[in-house]
Symmetry: C2
Subunit: 310 residues, 2 copies
């Protein structure tokens, strides 16, 4: 029985999550705090993935939510997803300019015009900040495998709890030869499907359909689909007809290797591929499929996530 | 023996951390990725604090790095620390405006002026986003104890590795009566000292000296010192003469209760106090005191942090 009287199924699920105190609203669409219970599902999912991947000897790197603006502008995000960007601005004046800022603020004028762009943007993807750190390097024969987790930001206010403006991605990135990159992507489509199915999420791989911006974006969308480079594992969360991508497996060819001058052992431009788990979306899928009370989740799922151990 | 030839002791320590691959530079001062080893020290420190506090039955809440702009403007950060703020801006135009944005970008003009402020700011403190979620509420007799951890942003580019622009705070916040808030702060000064001393960090409590902005800020600084509301636990990291605050214990009186209308059980305006652990700074203090090779840390410290268990 639902008391929220909301016809929109996305808002309806959001209301349920808020009523169960799993998500705590911030007053901004798509920005929430999470409860300890919600967070523990993510921690245990990450531990599960970590146990599966420990044998792969990935290098662990953790990037903060902000990202060098100079590196951002070397990518094509400004062309393809300008509407999703997060540019960080601050006040850089002295006392006199501060008085003027306060005056504008108190008069209800637009005080933010007085701010200046800082050296950073919010990271739009967990792996973007990685490639510049490998700039000018030559990879070992085996390539590199990097384990990342960070917050990403996408400015797309929405009532769909699975479309947050700020969320975390756990990513495994392969830098290496074209064969190594492709094998990484394809191997992970299977491996990630297995992990998610073991949690009762019957994911299906589909070719990705990214929200490229504007008129030019329609060409990009068609190209992306033709190239079959990026797959997503989707599962229904709120809607059976429009299942939600909870992971993405993307081969970038030599895009990042070329922009940031990363070479393979034999001197070719490095290729890259990434496998990204959308952590909040995975938790939201689990709560939708197994119910809002973690104690009542199927024993097999509780065991896989070691929810009884803590 | 040091090969970095850097006279600045802050840069020198930074160079050592980078050479040891504990921190990975981003090209922006004060923005780093952390290695798995660095991160594990933080994870285990958080586990240690968590074991100490489990009996207190704190509510766990985890906020993202961004914060409702409307709530931000109800605080006095804009007055006191405008130079540290992070205001998140994005592109909100259509195709025509996008073409102009790209033209400016490609011509080397200031494309960021075409962006608009979003609904969010970067959070300047881990506990700021908490108070609005309690707005309009009446606390139970015992008050509330909340366990927070989040990224905060402060725009203060620096070569001191302990002055990052983006870092994580683990905070314990008490909402309650004046007595409950003060007891929280005072109890935590002792408790946090004990935890940090058990790790070989001989911290000392000092009255805080926050970097209030500009001419008006000098008055605020004097007031802060007179009121004795905020203490920091300091320990030398790079400099013996200028030890670094690695935790802060702050009583806010009824400031947040008043701004966000939070009441105690008997109808008074709630008081609040917070205890914040600067997680990156604590790791940096441990690496400075015990060396860059975690395997060689004193057995007692390794045992306290359960570094052998993993």
């Amino acid at each position: 029985m639902c008391l929220c009287h909301d016809d929109d199924p996305y808002k309806h699920y959001q209301n349920e999550l808020v009523a169960a105190r799993l998500l705590i609203p911030s007053g901004v669409r798509g920005v929430f705090a999470r409860s300890g219970t919600f967070e523990n599902v993510i921690v245990q999912f990450e531990n599960l993935v970590g146990r599966e991947t420990r044998a792969m000897n990935a290098e662990v790197l953790r990037f903060p939510p902000v990202f060098n603006r100079a590196h951002y502008t070397r990518l094509d995000h400004l062309y393809n997803f300008p509407d999703l960007m997060g540019s960080v601005h601050s006040f850089m004046g002295k006392d006199a300019e501060h008085l003027e800022l306060i005056r504008k603020f108190e008069a209800g004028e637009k005080w933010t015009d007085d701010l200046q762009p800082t050296e950073v943007m919010l990271a739009p993807a967990a792996c973007y900040p990685l490639y510049p750190t490998a700039s000018g390097s030559t990879l070992p024969d085996t390539g590199r495998l990097i384990d990342l987790q960070s917050y990403v930001f996408r400015h797309e206010p929405s009532d769909d709890p699975a479309r947050m403006q700020t969320f975390r991605m756990r990513e495994f990135v392969r830098l290496g030869t074209p064969e190594q990159a492709l094998a990484h992507r394809d191997g992970w489509i299977d491996r990630a499907s297995g992990i998610l199915r073991s949690l009762g999420l019957d994911v299906v791989p589909v070719v990705a359909n990214d929200p490229f911006f504007g008129r030019g974006g329609r060409v990009m969308k068609a190209t992306q689909r033709e190239q079959n480079l990026k797959y997503e594992l989707v599962v229904p969360i709120v809607s059976e007809e429009k299942p939600t991508a909870i992971t993405s497996c993307n081969c970038h060819l030599d895009h990042f290797g070329s922009v940031f001058d990363i070479k393979t052992a034999n001197g070719e431009v490095a290729h890259s591929a990434c496998m990204g788990f959308g952590l909040e979306r995975i938790a939201l899928a689990l709560f939708k499929h197994h119910g809002l009370d973690v104690a009542k989740w199927p024993a097999s799922v509780r065991q896989q996530l070691q929810l009884d151990a803590a």
